[in-house]
Symmetry: D2
Subunit: 133 residues, 4 copies
């Protein structure tokens, strides 16, 4: 995430948002942010959202996700939001949205549906579990 220049905006139980200010390095041939970057911040937002509900000693693994790209990702800032839909002992399902912000307007640029796996006994994340920590 550091390579991308992404910022962890908000972490609450079952929710996470990540922002990114587009730079030339993350653009594709038309000047829009590359789909791989959209995918990375959506995947990460979903992953952290799930992680907030995991037991203390557990780590998170993305099993799979599906991403629909809806609009070109251009603007001053991208914001990816991940939300837990169902939290199980082994698997956690999330939904994600990526919005592009420009001059006060928000455009939905991608939606994601994701399956995470709880890796018990493997906590190794460097991020705080919630914004109070």
């Amino acid at each position: 995430m550091r390579t991308l220049g992404a910022t962890l905006e908000s972490v609450e139980p079952g929710f996470c948002s990540i922002s990114l200010v587009p730079r030339p390095e993350v653009a594709q041939q038309h000047g829009y942010v590359h789909a791989g970057v959209i995918a990375a911040i959506a995947d990460s937002a979903g992953g952290y959202a799930g992680y907030t509900l995991f037991p203390r000693d557990a780590s998170v693994l993305t099993v799979e996700y599906k991403l629909n790209l809806l609009s070109p990702a251009a603007g001053e800032r991208l914001v990816a939001e991940g939300q837990v839909i169902k939290s199980g002992r082994t698997l956690v399902i999330t939904r994600g949205e990526v919005h592009a912000e420009q001059g006060g307007d928000r455009t939905l640029v991608a939606v994601m549906q994701q399956t995470l796996m709880v890796m018990h006994g493997m906590d190794d994340y460097a991020v705080p579990r919630n914004s109070q920590e």
Copy 2:
């Protein structure tokens, strides 16, 4: 793709492979290549594979994809392969695989199923359509 350090290996009608030699910048917290990078090369390999079958004046757009992450992506080299499954006038469906190579061994690290859209009258890709060009 240049930012990632990826290389277009092979482009044939309905097929494309892209390789990447992992560098520290594309790694996540465990030293493996980040899922966003896996997604980017799989998505691009599928997109180019579809593009090889498009009419001369058409561009390619990824509508959506689903990616399953199967194994940690570690090794000397990653190779993403995209293959067209069904080529229609408006939509093209591809399958993708990403393999990690290490000392002659190959491990399947991700599989993808992707929907592309043919953007007629919008050719703007800088890549050759096939390896003879």
Copy 3:
């Protein structure tokens, strides 16, 4: 849908809900409603939701969907809801949810993300476009 015993509950612009009272014929080996039935009502709810926003002469085609099965589908009634997320000229993206109802309680049993295609000049649906018709 008739074979399944499903009922069109509500059709509004960009939204559709379909209900189904489980019968033995649609159950799998544990007595729960079969995943294929869950998929069918979720797919149909999304398809009708998209169809409400189509031009008069257009028909709907499901390009693809992804379905996560969250909980066993048991209860007095299943309700599938489809909601348009993005409506384009050629493609429409929807989200779907299937809930199981039992004694006033609702359990989320499946979530879907779906891509529809607008088939211009091919209107042939027998359903009303909105509840006023």
Copy 4:
């Protein structure tokens, strides 16, 4: 599966095929086999394919799948094939294809990518694990 009139054709380690002779009850408004039926036989073929590799005391659960519908499903017979791509201790990933057969020709009508969960200690399937049984 019995309600649909589907037949288990072949079960080998990591593979399963299921056939269905279309009847009016499983058709949608154009006379083609309904997408829900396509989904049901693809999902089941993938699930049985995974189940063949499970330990003796384990049952199978579909976590999620993504299905692309490629062509109208018409013909004398539909054949769904499921193939295990990756078999883990907890999760199994499969790919599926559904073909329509007509007069010796085969048309690919759908492709699927699926995630299964191994339910240890919950064997309850009535189908044989391989064709030798």
